[in-house]
Symmetry: C2
Subunit: 404 residues, 2 copies
Amino acid sequence: MALYVYKFGGTSVGTAERIKSVAEKVKKAHDTGDQIVVVVSAMSGETNRLVALAKEMQTQPSDRELDVLLSTGEQVTIALLAMALHNLGCEACSYTGSQVKILTDSSYTKARIREIDDAKIRNALNQGKVVVVAGFQGVDEVGNITTLGRGGSDTTAVALAAALKADECHIYTDVDGVYTTDPRVEPKARRLDKITFEEMLEMASLGSKVLQIRSVEFAGKYNVALRVLSSFTEGNGTLITYEDSDMETALISGIAFNRDEAKLTITGVPDLPGIAHKILGPIADANIEVDMIVQNIAEDATTDFTFTVHRNDYLRARDILEQTRQDLGARKLTGDDAIVKVSIVGVGMRSHAGIASTMFKALASEGINIRMISTSEIKISVVVDEKYLELAVRSLHSAFGLEA
Amino acid sequence: MALYVYKFGGTSVGTAERIKSVAEKVKKAHDTGDQIVVVVSAMSGETNRLVALAKEMQTQPSDRELDVLLSTGEQVTIALLAMALHNLGCEACSYTGSQVKILTDSSYTKARIREIDDAKIRNALNQGKVVVVAGFQGVDEVGNITTLGRGGSDTTAVALAAALKADECHIYTDVDGVYTTDPRVEPKARRLDKITFEEMLEMASLGSKVLQIRSVEFAGKYNVALRVLSSFTEGNGTLITYEDSDMETALISGIAFNRDEAKLTITGVPDLPGIAHKILGPIADANIEVDMIVQNIAEDATTDFTFTVHRNDYLRARDILEQTRQDLGARKLTGDDAIVKVSIVGVGMRSHAGIASTMFKALASEGINIRMISTSEIKISVVVDEKYLELAVRSLHSAFGLEA
């Protein structure tokens, strides 16, 4: 007898019909004798409806009251799913975050889980019931309702799986797993049976369509085996594991990419200690997030400094940097807001040499000029002109043999 | 500084605009320095929407899950009202039934309040906040969400007023008070400034349009002064008090009536002990509610027995009674399903003679034949043919000087 935590997002429970079909899926699993805890989100559209009502009351609604309001969304779903299960003759019992209880800090709208009291759930499971828990919500020490912020239902599911030492935590979504790259860019993209947590984190650009990064981190911290599956089709999805000791690990698991990047370069900067801070400090002060950072020493003892930002922040960052350039007496400021980042990700590259050169060769053979390179232990990212995005992704997908 | 509990029903909080206007009313009262606790229902239509969703899941939804579902309705309203108050610069804090906490038994969908922990509310009031509490809901000893059944928000308000020893409990509705009779029948009907609890209970047919009888009983038990007012207009409404010692008490406070009555008479019943039970026992077993009961001894040592039931139960009661008649060897069974009950209600009749004869004279002078009479300490009810309803009400309204 295994214990599973299933999580169904808003789209999966978006209509009465879909809730019934979730109930059927859950009953089928329960009938095999496994213990099942189901975490559900609000029905899709419901949160938006409630937020719109809140904004009619107050332009900037109070966070505490917003949590009281929004937490009703999941509460509706748990009751409906429990009824749908009863209707199939499957014993079930619903719990809100307060009832479980999922103890959080008091940071309304973005609370962090501190502790889960699993007594009620274990008790109900031991009575043979399916336990249905409201995702996204918790309760603070004095009984205020809190919510966990974006992707909170994933976090609830992973936290419950950790607390209950579940065998696996299944995240049901509208995609059937994690792919080697975006199938809209490379139709030959293949669903991965497995991917490591680290790869999943590095593939944020792909993974974020599937799972909130925060819940992946959480799962990694508590050794929870996550599986991403489709609510609408059958299949085993993708299992997200701890580092794979499997000798047959693929070199590269996937090709990730980020559109909407922009890069800024300041050249001929006097190469003095603390220069990186002088350049990036004002950018950080303006709340602009910096992604890749590359610094080269030029021959004349000055340095060239390049970094990327989100394209929306490009003009603002450029203005700030122009001021910095003048202050530092640097030679020139250049920029480009028509670039993208393409990355190869894989734990295999730790133990294999030559990955980078395979990557650069594949891009060169297509005539794609690399504008910037950055590496981490399990990822190599390059910046290329936007127009090359699809070509770059496809050529790398092929060069590393990822095709279906 | 006084402490008031205000209750606003579903119609009063039915739209965003109405919630805002409730907030304005509350703020105005709070600004005078009084302490205000507000109890709200679900926005009108919301409960029906949720029930419809539930029925899509299960024809007969589980009571426990129904309560989890329906309690979200009030939770939405408390959050929105708190936001609307914040928006007016009025400090406010919302609480669900579980949070307060309003401890009930575990009779889902019709729970009874056992105890209210007023610590959180007092604390918030002492901080100068308006406290907004979800009506209709509570929590049982082990943390299950319960609801109080029909009119539950009135009960919540009265129970809170009792627990907090509030100066008055204001029930805001879509009528501006209790009237001497239904203004749709007698346009000269007048709003009463005061009415006693007992009169209110006896005027169920009028009062039930305004207040749930259960909350009136509850208020009487705990000496809570109730006031019925309009959410939409200004005015002092009607205060519902304990027995009035005021010497100037009106003889009669109002004229109540029940349409949809039917009467059944069994004549020539052998007059033996236990005969009433033999006649009414099978009716009660069939879950048919009996209203008025009249028994007369006939001259031939048999008895005539008459009672009224709701018109919907008429045919069923008649069939049962025909069997009883045969079993008892009674002479005849007659019935009439085109009758109504008209009552005069007033604590004044306790200390004044001649009320009944005034009533009978007024009806006689209009040629209205009385078919049945029943009296209690503060009410005299007569059954008359349905066609005389309006005429009877108006003639009594006038005979007792109730006109505006």
